[in-house]
Amino acid sequence: MKNFGYSIIKQRTIDYDQFDGRLLNEVLEMEPSFKVCLSCGGCTATCSAGDLVSFNVRRMNLLLRRGETIELESEIQKCMLCGKCMLVCPRGINLRNVIMLIKKSIAKYKPINS
């Protein structure tokens, strides 16, 4: 393959048609309260881990819903599970279970992903 001094850039677009919903479906099935997220960001604002490192809990929802598993896996490691987010959530989402479910599901699907 020839090298012309530049490379063809991979698209940044989220291609929803390539989305693998297994992870999402499993998490939503086990924790349906996660469906009602409003993306208000209260969780992120109160997050203890967010004080120490760039970490956005609200984005976990989006990463999961857009199939960004690789980023999700590295991001979700940052959560300390302190539970403040749950006390703030206006929709009463059981976020700690969501985090644990995502971790578990990622561990489960890891051989397939990698």
Binding site: M1, N3, F4, G5, Y6, S7, I8, I9, Q11
Partner: protein, 354 residues
Amino acid sequence: MKAEGKIRVWQDYQKEIADDHYFYVRSCIRQNFFPGSEQTFLKILRTELGKDIYENPHHTTCSGIGYHSDVVPFDTIQTIVARQFALMTEAGYKNLAASCITSFGIYNEIIETWKEFPSELEKVRNFLKSATGREFEVPQNVAHASDIVYKFRDDIAARKKFSLINQHTGEPLKIVEHIGCHYSKMFPSKGVGGAEFPHVLVGMIESWGGEVIDYPERRHCCGFGFRQYLVMSNRGYSVSNSRKKFESMEPYIPDAILCNCPGCPMFLDRWQYVIEEMEGKTFGENGAGIPVLTYEEMAGLVLGYDPWDLGLQMHQTNVEPLLNKIGIQYNPELKYAGKDGKMIGKPMMVGCGW
């Protein structure tokens, strides 16, 4: 796709195109990329249609590429454009015909600016006067050369030697139309058919017997984007733009791509070759590339002009599959023969998918 819906949109965007006496301004880059095109345009207008079209040897670049690359300030480009208008005024013409889409966009942008801010016009008149002593009138009608071909598409069809029909199947050729961004995306009303469903090339294709492909990424830019190309390390952005379009049109198995901009045919043509070299991927039928033509070249083919006189040997993606489908006879031996019969030299790089 509902035809009546598109026709309704086209009706909303009908522009006035002068029908004779044009002052022609050339494109800087087309003369190098596809040198036969502008020549063919003049030939068709003068000999086939008997129109009066004048070009002044003193006209210059509109400096649009410099302007869009942030090296030419607005005052400067306004003055340069004013000088073109002065040449036109001096020659007694009122209808501007631009070969280049970037220039066409620039002329429209500047004329619209002058309408909104008359003080700018006065300022530019002073600049031009003090720099060159020239005076000018704003053109009455600004058309892109493709507008003019669109206007006379049926006259050309009446003289056609070939139709855009696949000789082997009898089916209309499936053609992708691609307008330059600055043709109507800045001012939808300045382009025939507007920006969403432009009609300028569609009209030509349908009039000459072909069928238009409407593929999802039809709106997308070819990827030229001035700075994306001018800086070598940025060219990846440019290629990936084009690739997005190719991927989107691929399922329709197009026979050709038709363009009305200097940059688009250059990049849609050249990047097909590059993508094949870099990734081994081609997008046309039977592993070949998709031939990319300018509207003048297409008109020339329809009128029976010799493909090599049209400059089709300058294309990096080989056009022979298209010529074969249309049923145009050509001598492969003469592909790289110059006017005087001497070989002009074969390109080192072999065309896409050939």
